[in-house]
């Protein structure tokens, strides 16, 4: 009987311990469990993440600041920082970033450095591997080395880091952001290295893709003539960012192609990803000669991944004689886009290819040495260890060559590729100061000075000053290259094939106060082929033409019109192509459904509005035309990475070469022309649209091309699905998939500059705050917040909160 009691107790206590471990989310054998007890207990779990509607003022002390700081949070929770020095202002900015967005900062830094599996589990290991293989950790370490060469500036960034960690130190487990409770991990302290990770994540997103491998494959299978006829680098009707008359008159002219450097071959499939359609941005500046008030107007809308929390965070900083407002990415000090009492500034991505691939010639299978300039050269071997939640660590051996890390290894080791990326280079200038110094720039010249230290990802840095200047510089480091250099995989055994010299910043494409009265960029080609240095990339072809056309024709421009222009949903691709394909000679008008579709498309004004069906018909039709036209190229996609021809080239072929051999479908005996492709694609589109109706789906543009704003963890309960949107990837209002105008900003540069801005999210990263997604509705409706940086502290404080940070000796 007594032993029964012991047995019962043993059984009970074992079950209790197992249950407690289960509710605590302890994991074993690759199974990750939600920590139900830890997460849902009302004392420290998600219940404690609720945000009180009325918030009490906060007082705290810090030894890291020189003088007292006051932060006023307005009713949208935008911090207005009042500090006496830049050091203290950056401390306060770091403090607020952590308070509102720490999980986001942490995840972005983990994404950059390949440490996601550590908190998510084995499903993210392949992502982490690819991040470190492409040299992200190497780039981060190189940057840290470079940043340390500027100790004064490095210390300034440390102040920002101190601010972040001050906010973290206030937290008990009950205060941890909700996502940490879901993932069952604690937050880690912030470091300068993590700020570098955010910078490199942006470099990776905006300048981390090259088409070298698919371009090399296509060159090999198509031959030179066909390749260069399909993949033109300049189009006849292009509208480059910089006008020809402003191009550098550098003595060095374009050097001829070094064909011997190109490694013509066919490469195995890699994880190469095409540039994502939708990532891109617009900015433009109008000089006073074209505005109603006579003052310049500035506009900027970066199209990045729309996420919750939003990628952007608004801040207003006042220190010394600076009064600046704008947005930055949490984790990065300063303001990436914004305005002060003198100038407004912002960027778009340059899209030039700064990533080159080199085939490595190993001396033997051990890969311990490779041939370079005729000599065996030692490989640097680094073993990376990956922590993986719920299972054992994983190790991967990375090999570094003079070119950079070996990113792809072939089964036989005979086609291993090393990648050379400008973002790998140790910075020779204090690049971290760009967005800090921009805040205090009082003129376009001072803005140029602030931005000249910037290295990568190269941006079209545009600014306008209230004194009348407008100017743009294609800003970043670029190598001087011979023609076609960097477009294809190169041989990695010869130093002559390595570009080493940078283009001097003065010779970067730039333009100031053009006679036409405006400057605009939207990821199109930087210059015509008259620019003395060769560059290549994947550029935008339609948005920029719409912007150019509108700005050329507008006069007496107002800020309201610029906001309206940012919502412009007109697609020039549809305008160029639709009349031709609607007039196709073999359209079958006996089919009633086809007649309706045809009529819808004929009456469409090429604006992508959510309630219309015509944009859906057109895009589906065009997608089929594209696939049917390039069936010869798609045929290679099973065995290699292919380079997709551009839309403008496809349309040029349809309009000007309708009998081109690419219109012949390989699988049929008949010799098709563009008209056959158009007809066949129409029928396919019609079928798809009918199937959608049969499946209970609508063919309205908003449903055909839905937009979701996902939470960083893609948890549906924390995301907003089916967001109302106009536009398309080719429209100024570039909305596609989950990419779109992640921040819309217009600044009227009158005597006291007045700004307007909105982003589809909210200041708080807490899903239980009203300010988590409060601006989405405004963004959907195309409305903006009016932002007057001259309001007083008391005016900002209405319905807000004050955080007083006192200096402690």
């Amino acid at each position: 009987m007594s032993s029964m009691k012991y047995f019962s107790f043993a059984l009970s206590i074992t079950t209790t311990i197992l249950l407690t471990l289960f509710l605590n989310g302890n994991v074993w054998n690759r199974i990750t469990l939600p920590p139900l007890g830890k997460m849902l207990n009302p004392f420290t779990g998600i219940w404690q993440n609720g945000q009180k509607t009325s918030r009490a003022d906060i007082n705290l002390h810090s030894v890291s600041i020189e003088q007292d700081i006051e932060i006023v949070l307005d009713e949208r929770e935008v911090p207005h920082i009042y500090a006496n020095s830049l050091n203290d202002a950056l401390f306060a900015q770091g403090y607020m970033h952590a308070k509102h967005r720490y999980f986001q900062m942490d995840m972005m830094s983990r994404s950059a450095s390949g440490r996601v599996a550590e908190v998510i589990g084995p499903s993210r290991l392949s992502y982490d591997l690819s991040q470190r293989r492409k040299g992200m950790v190497y780039a981060i370490e190189q940057a840290e080395r470079g940043w340390k060469k500027f100790p004064d500036r490095y210390q300034l960034i440390q102040k920002y880091v101190d601010g972040v960690n001050t906010a973290l130190a206030e937290w008990s487990p009950a205060d941890y952001p909700l996502e940490y409770k879901l993932l069952n991990v604690p937050p880690e302290p912030w470091t300068i290295k993590k700020t570098i990770m955010i910078v490199k994540m942006m470099a990776n997103d905006l300048a981390g893709r090259g088409s070298d491998i698919p371009a090399t494959n296509m060159l090999e299978v198509l031959g030179n003539d066909l390749f260069f006829s399909i993949y033109d680098e300049h189009e006849d009707i292009e509208t480059p960012v910089i006008l020809d008359e402003y191009l550098s008159k550098a003595a060095s002219m374009r050097k001829d192609t070094i064909w011997a450097a190109i490694n013509k071959d066919i490469y195995y499939k890699t994880d190469f990803k095409e540039p994502i359609k939708g990532i891109g941005s617009n900015n433009w500046a109008i000089s006073g000669s074209k505005t109603e008030s006579g003052n310049p107007i500035f506009a900027n809308d970066p199209h990045l991944t729309l996420s919750l929390p939003s990628i952007w965070y608004e801040t207003h900083l006042q220190y010394e004689d600076v009064n600046a407002y704008g947005v930055t990415i949490p984790g990065m000090p300063g303001l990436i886009m914004g305005w002060n009492d003198q100038i407004a500034w912002g960027e778009t991505n340059v899209s030039q290819d700064i990533k080159d691939y080199y085939e490595i010639e190993w001396t033997d299978v051990t890969k311990s040495h490779y041939m370079f300039d005729g000599k065996p050269t030692p490989t640097k071997i680094v073993v990376e260890t990956y922590k993986v939640k719920g299972t054992v660590n994983y190790k991967d051996t990375l090999r570094y060559t003079i070119h950079g890390p070996v990113v792809y290894e072939s089964p036989n080791g005979d086609k291993d590729l090393a990648v050379r990326w400008l973002a790998h280079n140790e910075p020779e200038s204090p690049e971290m100061m760009t967005f800090i110094d921009a805040m205090s720039a009082k003129s376009y010249d001072e803005y140029l000075k602030a931005t000249e230290v910037f290295i990568t990802p190269a941006q079209n840095f545009l600014a306008a000053s209230k004194f009348g200047d407008i100017g743009l510089r294609v800003n970043g480091k670029f190598y001087k290259k011979s023609s076609q250099d960097g477009r294809f995989v190169k041989k990695g055994n010869n130093s002559e094939y390595l570009s080493m010299e940078y283009i001097p910043i003065d010779e970067n494409p730039q333009m100031r106060n053009p006679d036409r009265g405006w400057i605009a960029s939207s990821n199109q080609v930087s210059t015509s082929d008259k620019y003395p240095y060769y560059f290549n990339g994947r550029f935008e072809h339609y948005r920029n033409r719409t912007i150019d056309s509108l700005l050329n024709h507008m006069s007496n421009i107002t800020a309201t019109e610029m906001m309206k222009m940012q919502q412009n949903s007109h697609g020039d691709k549809a305008r160029d192509l639709l009349p031709r394909i609607l007039d196709n000679d073999n359209f079958n008008e006996e089919n009633e459904d086809a007649v309706d579709i045809h009529l819808d498309l004929s009456q469409w004004n090429h604006n992508y509005h959510p309630e219309l069906k015509a944009p859906s018909y057109f895009e589906e039709w065009y997608t089929n035309i594209y696939r049917n036209t390039w069936d010869e190229i798609y045929a290679f996609s099973d065995s290699m990475q292919i380079l997709y021809p551009t839309s403008w080239k496809t349309i040029e072929f349809i309009l000007e070469q309708p009998n081109h051999k690419f219109f012949d479908i390989q699988s049929t005996p008949k010799k098709e022309t563009a008209s056959d492709i158009i007809r066949m694609s129409f029928l396919q589109m019609q079928d798809t649209m009918q199937e959608r109706i049969a499946d209970g789906k609508s063919n309205n543009w908003n449903d055909y091309s839905p937009m979701h704003i996902w939470h960083l963890l893609r948890v549906p309960a924390l995301s907003r699905k089916n967001v109302l949107h106009t536009g398309s990837g080719d429209a100024i209002n570039s909305n596609i998939n989950n990419f779109g105008p992640s921040w819309r900003m217009v600044v009227d540069l009158k005597d006291e500059p007045l700004g307007y801005g909105v982003y589809p999210g909210g200041q708080s990263g807490n899903p239980l705050s009203n300010e988590y997604d409060s601006n989405i509705e405004m963004w959907e409706q195309g409305k903006y917040h009016e932002i007057d940086i001259y309001l007083t502290k008391e005016e900002w404080k209405i319905n807000g909160q004050t955080i007083q940070i006192n200096a402690q000796q």
Partner: protein, 116 residues
């Protein structure tokens, strides 16, 4: 009733200061020294104490907020009604405390046995 009130109070106080699993320890220790004579009564008191303390504190934690945590928690489990979040939370508290209480009762049985 007295045991229920005392245990509920101790669970709330300890949970405010210590990690969530203290509810299991508190129930175990309480029933080790103060368990009623009936197994089922010990389990019921522990369960109810855990259930009510979690329920009350989750309701208290939802007062005066921008947004209801209950709605978000219910959505995390699918599209459940908000009240289900309170129920799930209270059940977790109840079950954790009940297992603690059960082990405490059985420990007390051994303890009592060795004394007699």
């Amino acid at each position: 009733m007295r045991s229920f009130v005392i245990l509920t109070t101790i669970i709330i106080i300890c949970s405010l200061l210590l990690p969530w699993w203290i509810i299991v320890i508190v129930s175990l220790l309480y029933m080790s020294f103060n368990a009623p004579n009936s197994l089922w009564k010990s389990i019921a008191i522990s369960f109810l104490s855990g259930f009510i303390s979690y329920l009350l504190f989750s309701i208290y934690s939802s007062l005066g907020l921008d947004r209801s945590p209950a709605e978000l928690i219910a959505n995390l489990f699918g599209k459940l009604p908000s009240w289900s979040a309170y129920l799930i939370t209270a059940l977790i508290g109840g079950i954790a405390a009940a297992f603690g209480g059960l082990s405490g009762y059985l420990a007390r049985n051994i303890w009592k046995n060795s004394l007699t």
